[in-house]
């Protein structure tokens, strides 16, 4: 798993941990203490039951059924800690979804039942999730320097000397000076690496075991490479078309609809490959069925800056006029257009939670935005500007300036003045990418590829059902089927991913408009009356007009008749109801004598 746990300290400055990972046995002790306290409270309550009745009631409930049953059991001791173990409040908070509302009043008992039941279900789910959270004890550790030592001066060799062999093996260089500079991509599990050299060299390998899967030269310029949903397929944006290869290097598809692609992003839960082309088109390819979902002309020139928001699957494009635009496949115009830089935008990165966006521009500035509120948080001036940006799962930012890769920690919090780590690559950097679930930063440059060790970069706790770095082939196959079944349709992409769980407030007219737009015609529109052509002077314009009028008149009469009938019906019903009411009441009031 994460190298953070392995980057143990031999030298004083490397891998000093803030706190040891919390283990479940420690947790339980604490819990036990808490429990004891609560128990005491409960005792107190029992001693003074008359003081606060409500509390004692609750206490009884907390005891649960087990406690209640304990009285009647003959054998065995009574449980000193009756009921289920309490769950810490903070943990519960972590798994809270939405807020509880008020219960509807008692008369609406059906609604009340439904609401109570759903609340109970969500409470149960929350509690259980919080309870099982102790299975994820790993925490990320960071480099810490001595008193007057900057962590950015610690070189990779120092780190490698200090850490164990497996962690040390994660720092390596691939010297590929012939076909560089290189772009790279890690697969979703972080196990496989894909390299694409500018001059046509494409290779993929299992970088941890250094096992080469395939290597080839496509004899064309390679603009970008991207893994698809699993390590079995990858896409290569070549000089003219987009190609898809399998991991043996066999060309599966050449997609002629996608031309001049410069950048690609893969949306793993939607199975969409989004491409940005030199002609200004943003295209989406559904890789599960192999169809183009939509092609949007952005009218913003050459698109060579692209990022995607992992939280809501929105594509961010950077433009030469300093703006960053946000796109979904559902709208032809950008959802949001942000003016970020004075000069052109050079690179964009969005963090895992979808909260922050980091941009760098030609004006040598590095800016951090809160993309929920679209407000700038921080602005930094980098002496040489950053050409590539990448954000790790734990929020480390890597920025490449020339041939130097810098890693920053917590750029959106307190303003940083110095990088967390820095490393000089052999050539000018062309692509940087953090490896998921590993403390590794991959750097593609003019002279090949460098894999850097960056403590604290990767998420130490992986979800085995989602992206399991240790999965077998069988597991991968099963995962693939499940993932396909759970595929999210492209229509659901929007700024707010929780929109689906909200009731559509739009009016009937709006919905009708949407329907008309989808169908291309109005299904409820009345057919316009065109008078039949009659001979012998009966189709003179006057006659035709008269006939039209007649028909219109007839229609109007129909409408009026209908409304009158409806009104009568309602009146009648009302009267009947009143009569019934009166009959039910039985008694005659003094005013009844005036009734007919």
């Amino acid at each position: 798993m994460a190298a953070s746990s392995e980057t143990m300290l031999k030298k004083p400055h490397v891998g000093k941990k803030r706190k040891p990972p919390t283990r479940y046995w420690e947790r339980t002790e604490e819990d036990g203490k808490n429990d004891g306290k609560k128990q005491k409270e409960g005792d107190n309550n029992e001693q003074t039951p008359q003081q606060n009745n409500t509390r004692t009631k609750k206490g009884g409930k907390r005891g649960g059924k087990r406690g209640g049953a304990g009285k009647k059991v003959i054998s065995g001791k009574s449980d000193p800690f009756p009921g289920s173990a309490p769950v810490p409040e903070e943990k519960l908070k972590k798994f809270r979804r939405g807020v509880k509302g008020e219960l509807p009043p008692r008369p609406q008992y059906k609604l009340r039942d439904v609401v109570i039941r759903s609340e109970a279900a969500s409470d149960l789910a929350q509690k259980q999730n919080a309870r099982y959270d102790l299975m994820l004890p790993e925490d990320a550790g960071f480099l810490e320097g001595d008193e007057d030592e900057d962590t950015c001066t610690i070189s990779q060799d120092d780190i490698v000397d200090a850490v164990d062999i497996t962690a040390g093996a994660k720092y390596f260089n691939l010297t590929l000076s012939q076909f560089g500079p290189y772009r790279l991509d890690y697969s979703k599990t972080g196990r496989h690496l894909l390299l694409g050299g500018r001059r046509g060299h494409v290779t993929c390998l299992d970088w941890q075991s250094k096992q080469l899967m395939c290597e080839m030269n496509v004899m064309e310029t390679v603009n970008d490479v991207k893994w698809l949903h699993s390590e079995a397929l990858f896409a290569v944006a070549q000089k003219k078309w987009l190609y898809i290869y399998d991991n043996k290097g066999i060309e599966l598809h050449c997609i002629r609809k996608f031309n001049d692609v410069l950048r690609m992003q893969f949306l793993p839960y939607h199975f969409l490959l989004a491409t940005a082309s030199a002609t200004g088109f943003l295209q989406y390819l559904d890789v599960s069925v192999g169809k183009e979902v939509v092609a949007i002309c952005t009218k913003a020139g050459r698109l060579d800056v692209m990022a995607h928001n992992p939280h809501n699957a929105i594509i961010h494009l950077g433009h030469s006029n300093g703006t960053v635009t946000l796109w979904t496949p559902n709208q032809r115009e950008p959802l949001v257009k942000m003016l970020c830089h004075q000069g052109g935008v050079r690179s964009v990165a969005v963090d895992k939670t979808g909260t922050y966006m980091v941009t760098s521009g030609m004006d040598k500035k590095l800016k951090v935005y809160d993309i929920r509120a679209y407000r700038p948080l921080q602005s930094y001036f980098l002496p040489a500007g950053a050409s590539c940006l990448s954000l790790s799962q734990r929020g480390l930012l890597s920025a490449a300036t020339g041939d130097i890769v810098q890693v920053y920690r917590d750029v959106w919090g307190i303003p940083v003045t110095k990088p967390y780590m820095a490393h000089r690559a052999k050539g000018s950097v062309w692509g940087v990418h953090f490896c998921p679930f590993e403390d590794v930063l991959g750097v593609g440059h003019g002279e090949g590829f460098t894999s850097m060790v960056v403590p604290g970069a990767g998420e130490p706790n992986f979800d085995g059902l989602d992206a399991n770095p240790y999965r077998s082939a069988k597991q991968r196959q099963e995962w693939e089927v499940k993932a396909l079944l759970e595929k999210i349709q492209p229509e659901l992409i929007g700024l707010d991913p929780s929109q689906l769980s909200q009731v559509d407030h739009s009016t009937w007219e709006q919905r009708h408009e949407d329907r008309v737009q989808v169908l291309g015609f109005d299904p409820l529109a009345k057919e316009k009356f065109t008078p039949r052509l009659k001979t012998k002077g009966r189709s003179s314009s006057g006659k035709v007009e008269k006939r039209k009028k007649q028909v219109a008149h007839e229609d109007q009469r129909d409408v009026i008749r209908q409304t009158v009938e409806d009104r009568m019906k309602i009146d009648k019903e009302r009267k009947e109801k009143e009569k019934k009411k009166a009959a039910a009441a039985g008694q005659k009031s003094a005013l009844d004598r005036f009734r007919k």
């Binding site: 279900a121 003016l339 000069g343 602005s379 002496p383 929007g494 407030h505």
Partner: protein, 700 residues
């Protein structure tokens, strides 16, 4: 009869005997007589029987009542079953799985000598054997509470509840009172009481007092964070306006600021300012987007406004010497004093309020005039409607930007277009130069890099310089503008320089950084990114605004023809004004354009009609707020949440509910077990075992 028989045993009975008895009891005779008379009087015949229809009707009614009564006995059971989360058919089955010892033991007797011995031992120790599981002492303790006691206890509880509700009602009423004075007095009383208590506590329980002190400190910190004592509140603003004329108001403001200062004292950190972009700023327009406002306190962005107040005050001292020095030198005045002062000043406050009203009225009048002018303009040149719109639609941002440009120039006495205005702008933009967004003082302040968030103080100075009412009105307008400017200041962030431990090797020639900077600046001098963006934004705003519909028909009711315009009144009458759209999402974000178009694609997947029991969307949304799937929940939770409504045992005969079940009135037995969502521990043993059984059967 019996009596007679007894009598007859002795001797013969004569008629006289019988009659004699009658004589002895005259009342009975009278009764019978009466009855006979009545019969004679009642000459009427028996009623004819009802018709068949009628009798049938009555019979039906009776039968209906009877059966409905019968059926309604099932009502509760049916309802129960409808409500039940899960029904396991066949109902009433014995729970499978291990049974409790008590149940097993109940029908069992000790037979072997060993067993008998054990049981005798148990008996000796007064241990319960079976059904009554409790020991005698326990039972006694259970019995200890009598019915009367329980009743008394209940009464007590009722009383407490009622008292509680009274108290709540009272508190609610008190909360609703809007009188400020009332609350002020209330607060004062509370504070005094609290202090008294605290003093006592210091004597009696120093540890608790220390705790209290900590709490007070915490509340102080909270207050400090709340920015409550800055001059951005409603009260403070009103005071700021009146500060020029009113000593009391000035004093109050001063005190407020003092409080603020006191509260913020701790956090003042000497901020190092490395302004690297000095020479870049104040030359060309594009640069202000990035560097206008430095962050004085880089650690805490919230502190910016506060820290700036100090220099601001100095500034004001310098500018307005006769007014300010008097109040500045009054340190060490607590919060309590301030409140007392406030009470004293109420009179002056009233005056100030009155004045404020007057000013506002005047402002409104001037605005009305302006509107009238505009309307007349509109009528004169119907063709130029679009142009007018453009003028009106000059968004706040443009005015802001141009204002920023203008303030670089000497104050525009002559309405001359500043050089900052670009050629591409319409003439309407040029006219905008008349509106002065910032005064000289502001420019000075700006040059000293002070944030303009303290508009209140600024306006006091501005008001000081001006005499006439109209001018003050324009100033008010200015203030409005400034309010809209504020978000901009958020946008302009000072870039922080990052030190690089390693200098990048020159791939391109980066020897002379300055030179390169100049080159870049030159390269981007031409394409004005900001103005392009603003134009784009304005265009979008225009597109979103509904158009005024003109329904005037020339020639109706008057002469029409070439060169003839319909009359003004008519045009006015037939112009349909459309309600303005809701404010745009990006109204306050100058560097953002948010598309207002509805995304209808997701609407197809959303719920558009609430399902049955729900009445408000929020209720429904809350019930679907947490996911159900296995990706987000534990296995156990998923099983419980998605349990089926009806479970039938395979191959079991499901019989209708029998009458016996009803008589038993054991609802649990009828409805069967319910899913336990309360406890989150332990798997559902029952259901699992059932499922296992089902599996077995399937296999068989």
């Amino acid at each position: 009869m019996c009596l007679n028989n007894k009598l007859s045993e002795g001797d013969k009975i004569n008629l006289s005997d019988l009659i004699g008895t009658l004589d002895k009891t005259p009342s009975a005779l009278i009764k019978t007589k009466k009855q006979l008379k009545n019969l004679q009087h009642n000459q009427s015949t028996l009623e004819t029987p009802l018709t068949r229809k009628e009798t049938e009707k009555i019979q039906r009614e009776v039968a209906f009542e009877k059966t409905s009564k019968e059926v309604s006995r099932w009502q509760s059971v049916v309802l129960q079953n409808q409500k039940a989360e899960q029904l396991v058919f066949p109902l009433n089955q014995e729970p499978s799985g291990p049974k409790r010892i008590e149940h097993v033991v109940a029908g069992w007797k000790a037979q072997t000598p060993l067993e008998q011995e054990i049981f005798s031992l148990l008996r000796m120790n007064k241990q319960p054997l079976h059904d009554p599981v409790l020991t005698p002492t326990e039972e006694a303790s259970l019995r200890a509470m009598s019915l009367e006691e329980a009743k008394i206890r209940r009464a007590e509880l009722q009383k407490t509840r009622v008292l509680q509700s009274y108290y709540e009602a009272k508190a609610k009423r008190g909360k609703k009172i809007k009188s400020k004075k009332y609350h002020r007095v209330q607060k004062k009383v509370m504070r005094k009481e609290y202090l008294k208590q605290f003093d006592e506590m210091v004597k009696t329980d120093p540890a608790a007092a220390l705790e209290e002190l900590k709490k007070m400190e915490l509340s102080r910190m909270k207050e400090r964070m709340s920015l409550k004592h800055q001059n951005s509140g409603k009260w403070a603003k009103s005071k700021a306006i009146m500060a020029k004329y009113d000593d009391g108001a000035r004093k109050a403001m001063q005190k407020q600021l003092e409080v603020n200062k006191d509260l913020t004292q701790k956090l003042v950190i000497p901020a190092d300012e490395d302004e690297e972009d000095e020479e870049e700023s104040a030359e060309t327009l594009p640069d202000f987007v990035n560097d206008v406002e430095p962050i004085l306190d880089q650690v805490n962005p919230w502190m910016r406004g506060k820290l700036s107040t100090e220099p601001m005050m100095e500034e004001s001292n310098r500018l307005d010497p006769p007014v300010w020095p008097r109040e500045v030198g009054k340190p060490g005045e607590g919060q309590d004093e301030q409140e007392e002062d406030e009470e004293q000043m109420e009179e002056t406050e009233e005056e100030s309020l009155l004045r404020g009203f007057e000013e506002r009225r005047k402002l409104r009048q001037t605005e009305d005039k302006a509107e009238i002018l505009e309307i007349s303009d509109y009528d004169e040149e119907a063709v130029e409607i679009s142009d007018d719109d453009e003028e009106a639609g000059l968004s706040n941002f443009t005015s802001l930007f141009h204002g920023l440009v203008n303030h670089m120039e000497p104050p525009a006495d002559q309405p001359k277009a500043g050089p900052g205005l670009r050629q591409g702008e319409s003439p309407a933009l040029l006219e905008e130069g008349l509106v002065r967004v910032r005064t000289l003082e502001d420019v000075e302040l700006l040059s000293q890099d002070i944030s303009t968030s303290d508009t209140a103080l600024l306006t006091t100075q501005i008001l000081g310089t001006e005499e006439t009412d109209t001018q003050s009105a324009t100033q008010q307008a200015d203030k409005k503008r400034k309010k809209m400017i504020d978000p901009n200041e958020v946008l302009t962030k000072e870039a922080k320089v990052i030190e690089m431990p390693l200098a990048p090797t020159a791939v391109e020639d980066v020897e002379d950084k300055e030179e390169q900077r100049v080159i870049i600046k030159e390269a981007f001098a031409g394409d004005d990114v900001v103005s392009d963006f603003l134009k784009d934004k304005r265009k979008q705003e225009e597109a979103g605004r509904p158009k005024v519909i003109d329904l005037t028909l020339p020639g109706w009711g008057e002469w029409g023809g070439l060169g003839l315009q319909p009359s003004r009144s008519k045009r006015k009458r037939f112009r349909v004004k459309v309600a303005p759209p809701p404010p745009r999402q990006d109204q306050k974000l100058p560097n953002i354009i948010i598309a207002e178009k509805r995304d209808s694609s997701i609407a197809a997947h959303q719920v558009c009609q609430l399902p049955f029991p729900f009445e408000k969307p929020i209720q429904f949304e809350r019930t679907i707020r947490s996911p159900v799937g296995r990706t987000w929940n534990t296995q156990n939770a998923v099983q419980k949440i998605t349990a089926p409504k009806v479970v039938t045992q395979l191959g079991a005969i499901i019989e209708p509910i029998a009458r016996e079940d009803l008589i038993k009135d054991n609802r649990q037995a009828v409805t069967g077990p319910s899913i336990n969502l309360e406890s989150d521990q332990g798997p559902q043993k029952k259901r699992r075992s059932q499922q296992k059984k089902q599996h077995k059967r399937k296999k068989n």
